[in-house]
């Protein structure tokens, strides 16, 4: 059963390409189309499904039924929304910078789509199998900061501009803990190649052994998230990814109770839909790289490959929705302080923890490394976190306040 879907899909692709074997140029075009088109379409479909999932999930958290009129359980709601968006008037503010106002949605979509291409969706299902895929991913995904700022700046609206500036400050700050927490994984895997990072997350001596139990658990227990440094790294990565993707509780750029819709304020109609989709697909890309780095990528028992990847991706997104339904939005200063004074030092410490674990594993084997890593390494992280949160507390004024005019 393992990798069955992936192999079939790869086979299907080869079969289609074989029709064009006599025309090398056409074959290349078909190959490129086969690499990109299904990816783009499936992520757009996933976007539509996620908007439904998000609305349903938030509704249930708030004790409402959510959309339930269009189609079964409201499943066709995203299509209805899409049609509505298409039919809406596209309003461009008169004094806006029209060119950049037009370009911003496209600029957001492009890095999001490229980022998705770097994800190893399954065994052999990899649109851009670069050796340095992970570093490329982070380089490309930080481009969407520019798009968001473009949208904010070109609208010539104070709320848009505020949203854009918040986005730049936030995305640049959170990029650092994001990458630093990924560094630990790259160190341990010894490769920047996404497929190799995924492959490093199996217990290789168990997977090939033929013993059913070992086959089963070898594909789960190897995930980085089950290692002390991986667990901590995953938490840092997830928090930073929420901020990178403008998701609640870090949705300051589009804080609707403060600055209308931030950089989206002056967008309407289909451009708005594209911007919205771009943000969701960037969120998908970040969640996907999180799955690749920490949750074992497409590794998993029984149906290893695409099904596991999709399952993990949507579970991660469900957690994002759950968090959105739970946590209130941060203040701007809290947001920046959190990134620089808390997440950043901890992410650096985590790199040392990973090195410590690696050393122990080499010297005394996995079991002792696990024990020491969880007890001492994780304990050290906890202590550091507590110390940091004490340090970062604003000084409390203990003297009693004196009201001079009253007394």
């Amino acid at each position: 059963m393992n990798n069955y879907f992936d192999l079939k899909l790869v086979e299907l692709g080869r079969w289609i390409e074989a029709f064009f074997a006599h025309y090398p140029t056409l074959k290349l075009v078909v190959h490129l189309l086969l690499c990109t088109l299904p990816l783009a379409l499936s992520f757009m479909g996933a976007f539509a499904f996620t908007t439904w999932l998000e609305r349903k999930g938030l509704a249930r958290i708030q004790n409402r039924p959510g959309p339930n009129r269009v189609g079964l359980f409201g499943l066709l709601q995203p299509i209805a929304d899409g049609i509505k968006m298409l039919l809406k008037e596209d309003i461009v503010p008169e004094r806006s910078d029209k060119l950049f106002h037009f370009l911003a949605p496209i600029m957001l979509m492009i890095p999001a789509m490229i980022g998705v291409g770097f994800l190893p969706l399954g065994d052999g299902l990899h649109a851009l199998p670069l050796d340095s895929a992970i570093i490329f991913f982070f380089a490309i995904s930080s481009l969407n900061t520019i798009a968001v700022f473009m949208a904010g700046w070109s609208s010539r609206n104070k709320y848009s501009l505020l949203g854009g500036m918040r986005a730049v400050a936030q995305m640049i700050s959170y990029e650092i803990p994001l990458v630093l927490s990924a560094v630990a994984v790259i160190m341990m895997a010894g490769s920047l190649n996404a497929q190799e990072v995924v492959a490093s997350q199996q217990i290789s001596s168990w997977v090939g052994s033929g013993n059913i139990l070992q086959e089963f658990f070898g594909r789960i227990l190897g995930w980085n998230v089950f290692k002390p440094w991986g667990f901590a790294g995953f938490i840092f990565f997830f928090i930073a990814a929420l901020a990178e993707a403008n998701r609640s509780p870090f949705d300051l750029p589009e804080a609707d109770s403060e600055i209308i819709a931030g950089h989206l304020t002056e967008y309407s109609g289909f451009k708005y839909a594209i911007l919205f989709m771009g943000e969701y697909i960037s969120a998908f890309a970040i969640a996907g790289i999180g799955v690749t780095l920490f949750l074992g990528g497409w590794n998993g028992p029984v149906f290893a490959g695409l099904p596991w990847f999709v399952l993990k991706l949507f579970s991660l997104f469900a957690v994002m929705i759950w968090i959105r339904g739970t946590l209130p939005r941060l203040r701007v200063d809290q947001l920046m302080g959190y990134a620089w004074k808390f997440l950043f030092p901890l992410a650096i410490l985590n790199i040392f923890l990973a090195g410590f674990y690696h050393f122990l594993e080499r010297q005394w084997g996995t079991a002792i490394a696990m024990l020491a890593g969880w007890l001492f390494g994780f304990g050290a992280l906890q202590l550091a976190a507590i110390a940091l949160s004490r340090l970062n507390q604003s000084p409390t004024i203990r003297s009693k306040r004196v009201y001079q005019l009253v007394e």
Partner: protein, 213 residues
Amino acid sequence: MSLIGKGILKGMGVTAKNFFQSYYRKERLPTVEYPEEKATINQFSRNFPFLLYDGDDPVDGMRCTACTLCERACPPQCIYIIKDKDENGKAILSPRIFDIDTSVCMSCQLCVEVCPYEAIRMDSAFELSNENRFEGLLLNREELLKPNAYYHEIHPLEARETDDRMAAKAALAEAKKKARQKRARLAAKNKPPPGLKKTPPTRKKPPQREKSE
């Protein structure tokens, strides 16, 4: 030593509880799916006024005497009354035209408070949307008239109280009339002055207002 992030986990637990319980506990999903099912209306709810009538015929049983007190009390001036006249041009105590513009009415219930004849009350029907926002929302006399039974149906407590009050008033009026008749009879017995016949006191009519239609 407190675990970092414990508060967040606790909050997530609360939202998860709300999420899952909304599937099997009624009080976690109180939404009423409106067109299919309707919410039960509290008997003290009110929106727009309607006119009450007794008996079977709406126009004959109308309680309103066209005293125009409500018209004058209405803050946004959305009641419009024209008195009825008989063939000789004499005013009859009932309205020929009684309109309430529900697009203007602010549901203050002042008209109900001032009416001395318990003729106007607040309705609680809420499906009032209409295709014509001018004439459709301007309710005329026939649309406003509803039987007392309807009043009992929507506001049972209030309706009973009104009926009791009206019955007490009627009984009092009856008693007064009897006393007056008795007095008159006694007076007639004691000293019958042929030329001085006391007329029963009549109710002072409300001042008439000029109106253009």
